[in-house]
Amino acid sequence: MAARTVSGGEQSWIEQASRRFSGDPAGLEPMARALDGIRQYWITVLDQRRGEPAPRDGDLASHLMRARFSGRPLTDAEILDMLTVLVLAGLDTTRGQLGYLFRHLAMHPDDRAALIADPQLIPSAVEESLRFYTIIFGDGRKVTRDVEFHGARLKKGDMVYGLVSGANRDPRAYERAGEFILDRKHNHHFGFAGGPHRCLGAHLARREMQIGVEEWLRLIPDFRVATDEELAERGGGSMMTLTKLPLAWDVAR
């Protein structure tokens, strides 16, 4: 499965850093060390680029070092925060989402057959997996002024939690909300959230996932989950993912 090759194993930064999302207290120390490792990596990247006459082509760190915000450059701390978030937000998530989509395809031969017959449906399948198997439950927001919201009286400073995974299953917003519909129309899901803080990596994530499914199905049209044991998930913190997805397929000779 793609997840193994990306992470390189249990000791990689991504595995250790991602354990924070499980809400498991034992994961905190390795997580802190991993985050420090990631930060050190980016500090080196910034040092290498400091003083260069022009931004390196297509190099985000170079461009961030030259960016201006409200009339001033970004501080190193701000740049490091952004680059660290990029790592945390952009790697475990796409493989997590693909995990749920591939599990679904492994267990639903009709949906698999439909995608093989018409690969133009793949983007739609990716969208439906973002809706139906929402991996980021939601996030907190601070209320900026006293307001009544759908009958609830909120005060400035209150923290609220926007449960996007719940919104994605709202039967008032989706027909047959509890069903995975491969070619669902009007799929205005919040899998990447919404508003000004909607996922910055959504476009890249969509392309990665679409290409991942296309390439896989081209080579391995038939596959199944390779275990009878119940699959384990980690989550509860902020992000859900399967911990392993063993798949099996027959090779033609």
């Binding site: 129309k185 009007h186 799929n187 205005h188 899901h189 919040f190 990447f192 919404g194 508003g195 000004p196 909607r198 959504a202 476009h203």
Partner: protein
């Protein structure tokens, strides 16, 4: 908000700028008959519900 769903689903009707935001904003445009289905899809897919279809 730059989700990009609208112009992706109705490329014959909507375009985007270099930063991925839809170029037509706060305007009313006519939808040719052959773009009506695409327009409906675009409107129904925007997570911000930012597209309103007016029928006459």
């Amino acid at each position: 908000m730059g989700h990009g769903r609208c112009y992706q689903l109705s490329p014959g009707l909507l375009t985007c700028d270099d930063e991925g935001y839809v170029t037509i904003r706060d305007q009313v445009i006519d939808v040719p008959d052959d773009q009506v289905a695409a327009a409906e899809e675009a409107a129904g897919t925007c997570p911000e519900e930012a597209i309103i279809l007016l029928r006459d």
